[in-house]
Amino acid sequence: MRGISFTLGKERLGIVGESGSGKSMTGRAALRLIRPPGMIEADRLEMHGEDILHAPEKRMRQLRGGRVSMIMQDPKFSLNPVMTVGQQMVEALHAHGKYSRNEARQRALAMLDEVAIRDPERVYGLYPHEVSGGMGQRIMIAMMLLPNPEILIADEPTSALDVSVQLQVLDIMDKLVRERGMGLIFISHDLNLVAKFCDRIVIMYAGRIVETCAAGELKNAKHPYTVGLLNSVPDLENPRERLEVLKRDPAWIETPSVSARV
C-alpha cells in the first residue's frame, strides 16, 4: 500500500480492487493487524481523534471488536471449527465487557434473531460445519456486532456465497448498519455490488487509490482503470461481441494515490 488517505464517517465506504490491489490490506492496516515483516507507516491513523498508530497493543485489543469489528470472506475459515456457535459468540462478548453467563447467552440469542436466523436456540448449539455458508456469514455478522462496535469493516462478505443468499446477507447488513448508525467499510472486487450498496467508493490498484467518487457517480468515472473494470464485466442485459480488455498502463503505478478524505 502506498500513500492511502481516506476518512470514514457515519457512512458506507466501498473499497474496490482486484487481487493484489491492497484492498484487504487496507482494512487490516486500519486495525493494525499487519504482522511483521509488514510495517505500517502513516502521517495519521486516528479514530475519533485518538491516535491508533502508536497506541499500545492492549488498547488496540479493546478497540478491535469493541469499537471496530471485521467480517471476513468465508465463514468456513473465519469461524472456529471446534467451538459451537454459541460459545464463540459469548467469547466475543466476554472480551469486551462483563456479563453473567445467562446475560451473555440471552444477548447472543437476541442477536441471532436479529440476523434472521429462525431457530436461534438450535443454532446456538451447532458447530460451524453444520451450518450453511449463508447462515455462517450471518452468524459472523451477529458475532461481530454483539459488542456494539461503531465501525464495521466487511472484507468480501458475500463473495463466497451463492447469488440468492448474497442478497439476503446484504439486506441484513444494510438493516443493522442503518439501525445502529454505524460506519461501514465494504471491501470487494465487485464494483457494481459496491456501487449499489455504498455511499462513496474508492478504487484501488497496485496499492494505490486511483479514483474516488460517490456511488451514484460511478458511471461517470474518469480513470481508465475504473472504466476498464466497469466494461470488462459481461452484462446479462447488454450483450457485447467482445468484452473490453483492460490495458494496464504502467503510468498508473507512477501516479501517487488520490486522497479520499472528505
Binding site: 482486484e18 487481487s19 457494481n192 473494470l229 470488462s232 450483450p239 457485447r240 480488455v245
Partner: protein
C-alpha cells in the same frame, strides 16, 4: 449431428442404502458447434454432470452418448481425443513441479501427436501466451496465465468438445474478460462444441446460446439466451435466479 446426448442421467455418492443423489433424471442434447450452459447454485449438480461425462465419477446410471460414443464405466483413449475439460481453479489444475512445456508435451505424447515441439509453439500462440512462457513453472505465472495453459492442454489433442467447469470464477474480473474473449475466439476458430458450467449468469449469457437451469440435481428449465436476456423465464426458480443476478450486477 448431436455432439452430446444425455438421457435419464442419475449420479450418486455414498454406499448402497445411504446414497445421496447429486444429479437426478437429467436429459438434454447439445448439437455440434453449439455452446450450452449449465447454471445453478452450489450443490445443484452442474459440475457433477461434467465429471460424470469425463469418467471421473463411476457411480451413475442412464445413457450418455458423447462424440458418437456410448459411454460406459471407463473412457477410451479415442474419447479423450475428442472430449477435453478445463477446470475451475487455475491454481490446482497444473502440476506444481511441471513446466508448461512438460504439461503440453506429456498431453501430446499420450495422444500420439507428432511434431510435438512445433505444436507446443502453436498452442501457446493460440491461447495468447508467448513462447517465453514455455519453460515456466506454475508458480511463475498468474492465475489468468495458468488458465490459458490449462486451455492449451485441453486443446492439445485437437478435441471437438470442450467441457468447461467454471473456467473463470477463480479469476479477477479483468482477467476473466480476457479468458472469455479467448474462449469465444477459440470456439470460432476450431469449431468447438462447448458445455459450460457456471454460477454467473452474465458469463453464461456471454458465451452460451442455450442454458439449462439446475436446482438440487434436477433441470428446472431450459431456455435460450435471448429469453434469458429479456428475463422471460417460465419457472419461478429461474426468475428468482435472474432477478438476483440482475440486482447484484447493475
Amino acid at each position: 449431428m448431436t455432439a452430446i446426448a444425455i438421457e435419464d442421467l442419475n449420479v450418486w455418492f455414498g454406499s448402497p442404502g445411504h446414497r445421496s443423489y447429486a444429479v437426478k433424471d437429467v436429459s438434454f442434447k447439445v448439437e455440434d458447434g453449439e455452446s450450452f450452459g449449465l447454471v445453478g447454485e452450489s450443490g445443484s449438480g452442474k459440475s457433477t454432470i461434467l465429471r460424470a461425462m469425463a469418467g471421473l465419477v463411476p457411480t451413475w446410471s442412464g445413457r450418455m452418448i458423447v462424440a458418437g460414443e456410448t459411454l460406459g464405466k471407463t473412457r477410451s483413449k479415442s474419447f479423450y481425443r475428442k472430449v477435453q475439460m478445463v477446470f475451475q481453479d487455475p491454481y490446482a489444475s497444473l502440476h506444481p513441479r511441471h513446466t508448461v512445456d512438460q504439461v503440453l508435451s506429456e498431453a501430446m505424447r499420450l495422444h500420439g501427436v507428432e511434431n510435438v515441439d512445433q505444436r507446443i509453439v502453436n498452442l501457446l500462440n493460440d491461447v495468447g501466451l508467448g513462447t517465453g512462457f514455455r519453460f515456466r513453472y506454475p508458480h511463475q505465472m498468474s492465475g489468468g496465465q495458468r488458465q490459458r495453459v490449462a486451455i492449451a492442454r485441453a486443446l492439445a489433442p485437437e478435441p471437438s468438445i470442450l467441457l468447461l467447469d467454471e473456467p473463470t470464477s477463480a479469476l479477477d474480473v479483468s482477467v476473466q474478460a480476457e479468458i472469455l474473449n479467448l474462449l469465444v475466439d477459440l470456439r470460432a476458430e476450431h469449431r468447438l462444441t462447448y458445455l459450460m458450467v457456471s454460477h454467473d449468469l452474465g458469463v453464461v449469457g456471454h458465451l452460451c446460446g442455450r442454458i439449462a437451469v439446475m436446482q438440487e440435481g434436477r433441470f428446472v428449465e431450459t431456455l435460450g439466451v435471448n429469453e434469458m436476456r429479456k428475463l422471460q423465464a417460465k419457472a419461478d426458480y429461474t426468475k428468482h435466479l435472474l432477478e438476483s443476478s440482475i440486482n447484484s450486477v447493475r
